[in-house]
């Protein structure tokens, strides 16, 4: 007994399960059972609920903000106007330009859906980002994909594909090399990397928070090692703050990249 207390590593290792820290399997932390309709197309689980909330909350916020719109904004109207201003100044104008203002509502809703979905990563009792499952990011990336191809076809017709696949100003013989690369990077890798970026960032953050939570709980139950648990808890708090920033940054980058792609389709001569 005394030997075990003086050497906490033995204490930690002598717990059931072979000892050490017992990490939950990946399915336990990202898969949620459905509340109803398990296995059918209307199966409704935690991710679906969070996605619904992420969809409805911005709608309600903007409705409240716009209901009693005054010239001098106050309260919630002020907050929402700041957010519109942010998307306009940081996303639309640098990436597309003045004529991109008509895509502002789409980028706005994209930003809010992703951001609120991500924020559930650090909201207590939820602790699950909706975008840590591939379904949400891949849908959003497909929306962006259809959008930028649609914009290109609408404004330049089939010449858009010609410009995208055979960029002007390249020697004829090089098209043998350039065209497959352009096809891959523009039409396949773009949506894929857009989806994977969001998905992997949120999943990595989620696993990071789970890891430090498990570590903190294990260390606090391990006698004298609780002192190290304080450090682990500090890291958990710091990473929660970091994930708060990442949630915002990923929503911003996703809408910014969508805007850049739309801008590239709108002005292909860039």
């Amino acid at each position: 007994m005394f030997a075990a207390l003086s050497n906490p590593a033995i204490l930690l290792a002598s717990e059931e399960g072979g000892g050490g820290v017992e990490f939950p399997p990946i399915n336990l932390i990202v898969k949620w059972p459905a509340a109803f309709g398990e296995g059918t197309f209307y199966g409704f689980n935690k991710i679906a609920l969070i996605s619904m909330i992420a969809m409805i909350v911005p709608v309600i916020l903007f409705l409240i903000a716009g209901r009693k719109a005054s010239v001098v904004p106050r309260g919630i109207q002020n907050v929402m106007e700041v957010s519109v201003d942010f998307i306009e100044k940081q996303v639309v104008l640098p990436a597309i330009g003045k004529d991109g203002m008509r895509y502002l509502p789409m980028l706005m809703s994209m930003f809010f859906f992703i951001w609120i979905g991500n924020l559930f990563e650090i909201i207590p009792t939820s602790h699950m980002p909706a975008n840590a499952r591939m379904a949400n990011p891949i849908m959003l990336a497909m929306v962006a994909w259809v959008m930028f191809i649609g914009v290109g076809v609408k404004h330049h017709g089939l010449k858009y594909f010609k410009d995208a696949l055979f960029p002007p100003g390249v020697p004829k013989a090089l098209y043998l090399l350039v065209t497959p690369i352009e096809f891959l990077s523009t039409f396949l890798i773009r949506p894929f990397s857009l989806a994977v970026r969001l998905f992997a960032n949120m999943l990595a953050g989620h696993i990071l928070l789970v890891t430090f939570s498990v570590l903190t709980i294990t260390l606090f139950g391990a006698g004298i090692l609780a002192i190290a648990g304080v450090l682990s808890f500090g890291m958990l708090v710091a990473f929660t703050a970091f994930e708060f920033m990442v949630a915002f940054l990923q929503a911003f980058i996703f809408s910014l990249l969508t805007a850049v792609y739309i801008g590239g389709a709108l002005h292909p001569a860039h």
Partner: protein, 98 residues
Amino acid sequence: MSAITNAAATVLAQAEVVEQTADEAKSISAASGAGMAYGLAAIGPGIGIGYLVGQAVQAMARQPESAGQVQTTMFLGIAFTEALALIGFVVFILLKFV
């Protein structure tokens, strides 16, 4: 008769043990491969993002009035560079857990 069944049972049990160790060996090699994949995938983007942000800070220090534009471009560059590390992370998840 019973000796034969016993021998068969022993052989079966041994086969099971061999199978289990094969599974374990596979999972061990998958785990080390996963760690290797992510470790290697993190090197390039690490250098890249460090260089990128350093240059962006330099640009912002030289021309503070263009800080907003530099920042937006910096985030774009980080997003493109980071994608490689994230693909490495996805490979890690696929190797380790799937």
